[in-house]
Amino acid sequence: MQKKPATLLALDIVSLILLGVSTYLALIFAPTEVIMGQVQRVFYFHVATAWVGMLGFVAAGVSGIVYLRTGDLKWDRVEMAAVEISLVFFFITIVLGSIWARPVWNTWWTWDPRLTTAAITELIYVAYFMLRQGIEDPDRRARFGAVYTLIGAVSVPITFMAIRLFRTIHPVVVGTESAEAQGGFAMTGDMKVAFFFALFAFTVIFIDLFWNRIRMGALADKVEQLKLKVMQ
């Protein structure tokens, strides 16, 4: 069994603590929003998971570029780890948004520009794994994956800017929102504390999971190589 580095073990513990503190700040410390009530509290995890989701998709695109330049399969592992973790976080973002929308917009889902681009982004990266499954040769798979994440990364700024460029009912946290936006609110000081702490906590959690996932990818490659050696 491969031993986990002490730094990673410490990061695992710190991530768990940060998640606990962030949950406390979101559920207890932050005041209840008067118009929406308790459901507004999902906002803290909704934005934080969206942030790390997008961060990972961009990191995957960057890893793709580095792989295409160097040809080192290590970057393919980094890319795959980033996509996998971001898929999980972005899925949480979409589900939390849908749950928030039910009492506030009176619907679970609407084909608003932001919701549509977010769903497309998620599906693009689901398809990334389907593409990888269909290619046997590791180098070819890595090359195709790198180009795909590079193109897929375009969906990230489109999703981010959708609420700033198009007529949409989705509220904006930073910047000017559309006149049609519903469910926006002014953040109080305590809400800002919970909000920025959630962003920080999820960034650390992302780094921790990313490191763990990259290590697992390296282990999988080692097993694969040894399997080929033993079978010869």
Binding site: T32, I35, M36, F45, V95, L219
Partner: protein
Amino acid sequence: MLFLETTPDTSSYMIAGYAIAFGVMLIYVVSLYIRSRNLNRDLSMLEDMDKNN
């Protein structure tokens, strides 16, 4: 919600949201652990086979 005078009770939605968020994160962490454990098991088995060869 524009003309509501009291704050609506939307706590069930909040609970559902956080339950799903924690549930999904937990499933992912458990999947990472299981996959790593299986890979470690495969690795030690293959190393033994390699030594015997």
